[in-house]
């Protein structure tokens, strides 16, 4: 079975380590916060100027002066801090943020990512994504392996306008965990019940398969 969005988030949460400062993108990445183990210390950064983001507020306690980068009302945890946008991106470009998790429309086998624009259709802007992918040491992409027409989104070359070049290191899709290495996607894990053949068919870019590929564990 291919993973649900929640399961993709759950699998990515295993990559979040004790002591990490983490920036979560909009969509599936936001869900990762729900699955981080309770026994580790992790701080979530929101690029609009919050470090130490907490859960959504209780009804009636929402504050218009306290939102995340998706413009959702949030809370802060003890030890949180606020800062301006320039300082926020000093944290990001200065590599003080340890892990960036974001969504993608396409990823290519050399680690290029496209996630901000579909010419003539969707032009919303890149927000902080270009700064994040250009600077982060550790980028995990959460995405669907194929589009609605069943075409691969893990490509030899991206067809959409790029967000960044040579930057993606790891992908967790609904079918597999893959690393980007040697101009290829290296298959690391399979979603439970998904065969290597299915992943091969769904991947347009070069796919490296070495030995037995284990199923993901949650």
């Amino acid at each position: 079975m291919a993973l649900s969005k929640e399961q993709i988030a759950q699998r990515i949460a295993k990559e979040v380590k004790d002591g990490y400062y983490v920036n979560l993108g909009i969509g599936i990445p936001t869900l990762v916060a729900n699955f981080v183990q309770n026994d580790i210390e992790v701080d979530f950064q929101s690029e609009n100027g919050v470090l130490g983001m907490g859960p959504f507020p209780f009804e009636g306690e929402e504050d218009p002066d306290l939102i995340n980068a998706g413009k959702q009302t949030i809370t802060t945890l003890p030890g949180a801090s606020f800062f301006d946008s320039a300082m926020s991106f000093s944290m990001i470009r200065g590599q003080h943020v340890n892990l960036t998790i974001l969504g993608a429309m396409e990823v290519s086998q050399n680690g290029d990512i496209a996630n901000w624009k579909i010419p003539g259709k969707m032009v919303k802007g890149m927000g902080g994504a270009m700064d994040l992918v250009a600077s982060a040491e550790n980028i995990i992409v959460a995405m669907m392996h194929t589009n609605r027409a069943g075409e691969s989104k893990l490509l030899k070359n991206c067809s959409l306008p790029l967000t960044g070049v040579n930057c993606v290191k790891k992908i967790v899709s609904n079918l597999a965990v893959l690393e980007v290495i040697n101009n290829s996607f290296k298959l690391i894990e399979r979603a439970p019940g998904v065969s290597v053949e299915e992943i091969k068919t769904a991947t347009e870019g070069n796919l490296i398969i070495e030995g037995d590929i284990p199923e993901m564990k949650f």
Binding site: I74, D84, D112, K124, M126, D131
Partner: protein, 233 residues
């Protein structure tokens, strides 16, 4: 202490003309200068360029200026919540320059700091890099980005005093501090204007030297774009 207080938003907006370039603080609808935007609508200035992370929503924030077709060019990082914006952009009525958010913040900061340009890795290898000088530092490619050059900067703070010292609240801080002193004239509207000596100098986020005019704002709506709450158990 040099007094920066003006009596109202009309006085704060003296000298504003058609075709000027404005910086406006705020992220989404959080921390936007609501009173100043309303005055720009009333003044009906035309052909303006706005530097703002977002473009408001239909009918609120910068969406009000868009509705009246007062904006010729928008410089933003994300404009996703505004149907009128999209319509004007796709029809070619509105000139739009989309730039990475960190680059936007730093181009404000550079203008504030007297730094004419800087290198950043953001956007290298993308269409943002077109026409820009690039250079390698420490084995990595960077783009040369320039400081903004704006006529007015409009910011919103939580508290301020007559000297123009500002204190921000929560994530409503965002781009506001970076835009202070980043244009020829910076105008600050505040929720609470207090006499000098009231604010603890240790707690001031932006010193009054960066501000030319400050006034007490009125009737803040503070709309929430995405109300997300959890249920009490």
């Amino acid at each position: 202490m040099i007094n920066k207080t003006v009596s109202n938003v009309q006085e704060a907006c003296q000298g504003i003309k058609d075709s000027m370039t404005f910086m406006l603080g705020g992220f989404g609808l959080s921390g936007i200068p609501e009173n100043l935007i309303a005055e720009l609508v009333r003044l009906n200035v035309k052909d303006v360029t706005c530097i703002s992370n977002n473009a408001g929503v239909d009918g609120f924030g910068l969406g009000q200026l868009l509705q009246k077709k007062q904006i010729r060019k928008m410089i933003s990082s994300y404009v996703g919540e505004n149907a009128e914006f999209e319509r004007q952009m796709l029809s070619g009525e509105l000139d739009v320059e989309l730039i990475p958010q960190g680059t936007l913040a730093q181009r404000c900061q550079a203008a504030q700091s007297g730094i004419p340009a800087f290198y950043t890795p953001a956007g290298y290898g993308t269409e943002v890099a077109e026409g820009k000088e690039s250079r390698e530092f420490n084995g990595k490619m960077h783009l040369l980005e320039k400081a903004f050059n704006a006529d007015f900067s409009f910011v919103k703070a939580w508290k301020g005093d007559d000297a123009g010292n500002l204190v921000f609240k929560g994530s409503a801080r965002n781009f506001n501090p970076n835009m202070c002193g980043a244009a020829k004239i910076t105008v600050a509207e505040v929720e609470e204007l207090v006499p000098v000596g009231t604010l603890d100098p240790n707690h001031i986020h932006i010193p009054g030297i960066f501000i030319q005019r400050i006034f007490q704002g009125e009737n803040y709506e503070k709309r929430i774009e995405q109300l997300t709450v959890r249920k009490r158990n």
